[in-house]
C-alpha cells in the first residue's frame, strides 16, 4: 500500500516493471480501481497539482521495481524544471482521461468487456504475456464480487483469449482480447500515445534519479 485517502504523501513513485492501482473507496462496497499506473507514469499526482494529500488508495499490484523520491525532494526538482512540469501536467491530463473513461465504462459496459480492457492495460505495462492477478484484485478492478470475476475470466478463457489459473494469467490471443474489450481501451491508449508521456518520462526519470 503506497497511499491511503487523506494521508500525507511522503514519496512519489516511478514504476518500472511494477504496476500501481489507484482505488477509490466506497462505503459498503469493495474499493474500485479508477486508474492504473505503470512505466508510462508516476504515482503522486497531487504533488504535481500543489497538494500533498492523496484522495485515493494507491496499491502495488504484482511485484516489480519502482523508483521513488521523497515528496520534498520532488517538489524542489519540480519547481526548478520547466520540462518536468510540462511532462507531468500532460501525464496528469492523460491520467484524468483514463479515470473519466473508467467512469463512463462503469456505466455502460459489461464485466467481460471491462475485464478484457483491464487485462490489455496491464499487458501494455508489464510487457509480458504472463502476469499474476488475484481474484480479489480483479474484483477491485471491475467492482464486482468474486463470482462475477470467475464468470468473466472463464468466458475469456473459453474463447481461448487467455488462460487463467489461480491468479496466473497468460494472454494467448492479444488481438482477440482487443476485439473483446470495450472501446474505452483504445480511447485511453490513443491519449497516452499522443502525449508520448512514456518516452519523455523515462528521460526525466534518469535525471530525477541522478
Amino acid at each position: 500500500m503506497l497511499y491511503e485517502p487523506g494521508e500525507t504523501i511522503r514519496h512519489v513513485y516511478f514504476p518500472g516493471a511494477s504496476l500501481v492501482s489507484l482505488l477509490t473507496l466506497a462505503d459498503g462496497h469493495p474499493a474500485l480501481e479508477v486508474g492504473l499506473i505503470g512505466r508510462e507514469g508516476m504515482v503522486g499526482i497531487p504533488l504535481v497539482l500543489g497538494h500533498n494529500v492523496s484522495s485515493v488508495r494507491a496499491l502495488v499490484q504484482g511485484t516489480g521495481t519502482a523508483m521513488r523520491m521523497t515528496s520534498a525532494h520532488f517538489r524542489k526538482e519540480f519547481g526548478l524544471s520547466l520540462p518536468l512540469q510540462q511532462v507531468l501536467y500532460r501525464y496528469t491530463h492523460t491520467l484524468m482521461a483514463q479515470i473519466s473513461q473508467t467512469a463512463a465504462c462503469n456505466r455502460f459496459h459489461v464485466v467481460e468487456t471491462r475485464l478484457a480492457r483491464w487485462l490489455l492495460m496491464t499487458h501494455d505495462r508489464v510487457k509480458s504475456d504472463q502476469f499474476r492477478m488475484t481474484h480479489e484484485f480483479l474484483g477491485h478492478m471491475l467492482g464486482v464480487r468474486r463470482v462475477g470475476v470467475t464468470k468473466a475470466a472463464q468466458a475469456l478463457q473459453k474463447r481461448k483469449l487467455i488462460s487463467y489459473s489461480r491468479g496466473d494469467i497468460t494472454v494467448l490471443d492479444r488481438r482477440g482480447l482487443e476485439a473483446a474489450a470495450c472501446e474505452c481501451y483504445e480511447v485511453v491508449k490513443d491519449m497516452h500515445d499522443g502525449a508520448q508521456a512514456g518516452h519523455a518520462m523515462r528521460k526525466m526519470r534518469l535525471s530525477a534519479a541522478a
Binding site: L2, E7, T8, R10, L22, T24, A26, H29, L32, V34, I45, P46, V48, L49, G50, H51, N52, V53, S55, V56, L59, V60, Q61, G62, T63, R68, T70, A72, H73, R75, K76, G79, Q86, Y89, R90, T92, H93, L95, M96, A97, I99, S100, Q101, T102, A103, A104, N106, F108, R132, T134, E136, F137, G143, G167, E183, V187, V188, M191, G194, A195
Partner: protein
C-alpha cells in the same frame, strides 16, 4: 438578472490577489452560455478557458454508439477547458451547458502566458484540477455501485450548489443523457422523489422543496467530493505561496506538511510496506 456581472462570481478569479485580478480583468470577456451549447467537442480544439458564473457545464464522456455519461459538473467553483493548461491539446470528453447562464472566457494565449508565470492563478487552477480528479473518480464509483435515484439526488445537489436559486430548468431527456440512463429510469426516480415531497417537477422545471431530505438520501459520493473541494480551497493562495517559498529555502528533505489539517501521525505512513496482495 439585476445584479451586475463580475468575474468574481466565479470562485477562482475571486480568490486571486488584487494585482493579479486587475491584470487579468481586461482579458476576461463576458459571454452567455445557452442551454445545450457545446463549449467544446470531444477531440476538438479549445480556444478559450471558461469561468462559469451563473451557468453550469457538464463534462460528458461520449461512447461510439452515441450514448453519453456525465463525468463531472462545473459551475462557479471551477473552469472548463483544463486541457489548455495541462498541455493535452484535446480531450476525449465533451462539455455541454446544462444550465443556461453566463460565464467569462479567457483567450488560450493569455491563459498560457499567465499560467507559465507560476503565480497564484496557476496554483488555483492546479488545485481545482485536483478537485476535479476527485469528482471524476467518485463518479466512476457512483456509476458502478449506486442507483439511478441516488445519481439523481447527487446530480440535483451538485447543480443546486452551483446555482443561486432552488429551481432548475431541465428536461428529463437531458437528465437521462447526463446520467447515462434511459429516460424511463429518470421518470421513475424523479416520480419517487416528487411523491416523497423532495422535489416538484413540472414542464421542464425542477424545484427542490426539501434539500435536507435530498442530502439524507444521496449516496456518499456527494459528500466525498464536497469535502475534498473544501479541503483544497480552505487555504488562501497567498498561504500556498508562502509555503512554497519556505520549501525553496529548505534544502533538507523531511516530509513537509503544508498545513495542520493535512497532518497525520507519522506511524500512519505505510510507504515502505511490502506489497502483499496474494
Amino acid at each position: 438578472m439585476l445584479a451586475p456581472h463580475t468575474p468574481k462570481q466565479n470562485h477562482l478569479p475571486a480568490a486571486l490577489p488584487a494585482a493579479d485580478y486587475e491584470r487579468l480583468l481586461p482579458h476576461l470577456e463576458l459571454v452567455p452560455l445557452p442551454l445545450g451549447w457545446a463549449v467544446y467537442e470531444a477531440g476538438g480544439a479549445q480556444g478559450y478557458l471558461y469561468f462559469p458564473t451563473t451557468s453550469i457545464v457538464s463534462l460528458l464522456s461520449i461512447m461510439e454508439d452515441g450514448s453519453s455519461a456525465e463525468i463531472a459538473v462545473v459551475g462557479n467553483e471551477g473552469v472548463v477547458g483544463i486541457a489548455l493548461f495541462m498541455g493535452g491539446e484535446t480531450t476525449p470528453s465533451r462539455a455541454v451547458v446544462q444550465s443556461a447562464g453566463y460565464g467569462y472566457r479567457l483567450r488560450a494565449s493569455v491563459l498560457k502566458t499567465e499560467f507559465g508565470q507560476g503565480g497564484d492563478l496557476q496554483h488555483l487552477l492546479l488545485r481545482y484540477t485536483q478537485a476535479l480528479i476527485t469528482q471524476i473518480a467518485q463518479t466512476a464509483v457512483c456509476n458502478r455501485y449506486h442507483s439511478v435515484e441516488q445519481h439523481l439526488c447527487r446530480w440535483l445537489l451538485l447543480s443546486l450548489d452551483r446555482l443561486p436559486s432552488n429551481e432548475l430548468t431541465m428536461t428529463q431527456e437531458l437528465i437521462a443523457n447526463m446520467l447515462g440512463v434511459r429516460r424511463q429510469g429518470v421518470t421513475e426516480a424523479a416520480g419517487k422523489l416528487q411523491a416523497d415531497g423532495l422535489i416538484h417537477y413540472s414542464r421542464g422545471k425542477i424545484t427542490v422543496l426539501d434539500r435536507s431530505k435530498l442530502e439524507a438520501r444521496v449516496c456518499d459520493c456527494y459528500a466525498v467530493v464536497k469535502r475534498e473541494y473544501d479541503r483544497l480551497f480552505s487555504r488562501k493562495p497567498a498561504i500556498v505561496a508562502r509555503f512554497r517559498d519556505r520549501d525553496r529555502a529548505q534544502s533538507s528533505p523531511p516530509a513537509v506538511c503544508w498545513a495542520s489539517d493535512d497532518a497525520i501521525e507519522p506511524g500512519a505512513c505505510r510507504a515502505s510496506c511490502a506489497p502483499s496482495i496474494n
